[in-house]
């Protein structure tokens, strides 16, 4: 083969691989949309499940997921952002800080079912929160913590060091420098990381399996100590645990979950794009 043919073959293979990556996404989207579209209606989204989940809607599951994700973010964002600030702005580069950073990277690689068991052991049993929204939120929060810390660290590190130098040289303290010269410019990145974490939290089943998710509840949760239904778990239940559920209900639920995650991710992408355009350095 001459150089030209090699080049052509290489490009073709690389292109085909790229297409193969995109294809499953499109197929999943197409099938779920095709089979689930007919179930979507106002009643499906805002109604209570009826007749053994074979009629009515998925509102308790949707609301439950929103509660859980909100709780997870309320817990994980302050914790994650503050620890990222400490790691980037204060900690010295020594064995301890390297160990912490390694731990955070590894936290991201822990399988989600392990988080579920952790939540069961710590929040449900040890702290005695029971199987509740609180336990589930905290478990999801810990799961998305590495996502938020990593995104926040990257956002903080991408703020030019000259901003810090200038701020210090004008007599600002370290905290003033962080507060006024660094954080405002890292905020878009932190926000993006948070929304990606949100997307991740809303789709996970394993962490909520033992800590909060209810098979079926006739009423909406009233406090953080109540159990709740949640979209991913509801999907699992109606797909595998209860025989004879209408197909369009199963795919409709999947579609709602998928749309929720897609909307969150899309928001993150748009925000990032808009902030990048505004950036002037």
């Amino acid at each position: 083969m001459n150089v030209r043919t090699q080049q052509r073959v290489a490009v073709t293979i690389l292109f085909l691989c790229t297409v193969l990556v995109v294809l499953p996404v499109l197929i999943v989207l197409a099938i779920i949309t095709y089979k689930g579209m007919s179930a979507l209606s106002f009643e499906f989204i805002f109604g209570m499940p009826e007749n053994g989940m074979n009629a009515g809607g998925i509102f308790p599951a949707l609301l439950g997921t929103i509660y859980l994700v909100t709780g997870a973010v309320l817990f994980a964002v302050p914790l994650g952002v503050l620890s990222a600030i400490y790691l980037v702005e204060y900690s010295k580069d020594n064995a301890v800080s390297r160990l912490i950073k390694l731990a955070i990277v590894n936290l991201a690689g822990v399988p989600s079912v392990v988080y579920g068991l952790f939540g069961l052991g710590v929040f449900v049993a040890f702290f005695g929160f029971g199987v509740s929204i609180l336990s589930g939120s905290l478990t999801l929060g810990i799961m998305i913590l590495p996502v938020i810390i990593t995104a926040s660290r990257e956002a903080l590190e991408s703020v030019p060091s000259s901003f810090r130098t200038v701020s210090f040289s004008l007599g600002a303290s370290r905290w003033q420098t962080i507060r006024h010269a660094v954080l405002p410019h890292a905020l878009p990145g932190i926000l993006t990381g948070t929304i990606l974490g949100l997307g991740r939290a809303s789709g996970e089943t394993a962490p909520i399996l033992f800590t909060v998710a209810a098979f079926y509840l006739p009423t909406l949760p009233e406090s953080v100590f109540d159990q709740t239904m949640a979209l991913p778990y509801h999907l699992y239940v109606i797909s595998t645990q209860v025989p004879g559920i209408r197909e369009d209900f199963r795919f409709g639920t999947a579609l709602v979950l998928l749309l929720l995650v897609l909307i969150l991710n899309l928001t993150a992408i748009i925000l990032r794009y808009r902030f990048r355009k505004k950036k002037r350095w």
């Binding site: 010295k92 901003f163 200038v166 210090f168 040289s169 004008l170 006024h180 002037r280 350095w281």
Partner: protein
Amino acid sequence: MPTHIAVHDLCLHYGDTCVLRNLSLEIQRNEIFTIIGPANSGKSSFLQTLNRLNDLHADFRKTGKVTLADVDIDTIDVEQLRARVGIVFALPFPLPLSIAGNITYGPRMHGVHQKRALADIVERSLREAYLWDEVKDRLHLPAMNLSGGQQQRLCIARVLAGQPEVILFDEPTSGLDPISTARVEETMLVLCKRYTIILVTNNVAQAARVGTRTAFFLMGELVEVGATKDVFTRPSDPRTDEYVTGKFG
């Protein structure tokens, strides 16, 4: 003229590397003290010692003593010290704020918040840096929109806003065109009536143009210090002669 800054037996290290050895000199009030020398001769490190910006480097160490108006700078609150000893960097680094926001950054960090007081500071500093007439109608536009020379004068104004006693210039015109350079030099010559100025420059001619006294640093050592005229016309050390006449550097 009274001594403003006195340096006794100063040695600076980054990790195991010594960048300045046994430096002793005195800088007088209201002079333009220029420091010349090739790269890596310890000029900038010396400058950044005077307002303790070096302290931000984890592996920086210093021995010896520096006094500002007879007070050891290590005993002065570091935030106060940096307001009293301002610095203008080689590149203009405007913060991504408005023109006015850049000027008031330092004062705001030191607790000035009244609108009237801040507006006065903006006008006074910009006038002192000869930038007022060019920007007075767009104080609330981003500072990044200004030209390079204007940005550098904005940085000077930003330092002046903190009402410093000493202004350090770290090769302030290395990124500027000749006309902007001339304007910055003129500004310095006026400012030295009210402030003590220390100018580090790679541009030997600039040191000759604006300097009151000049020091020549080489490889972390002070080779010679004296009145600028003397250093340039009859240097006492042959290395100074070679450097200022352009034989090396």
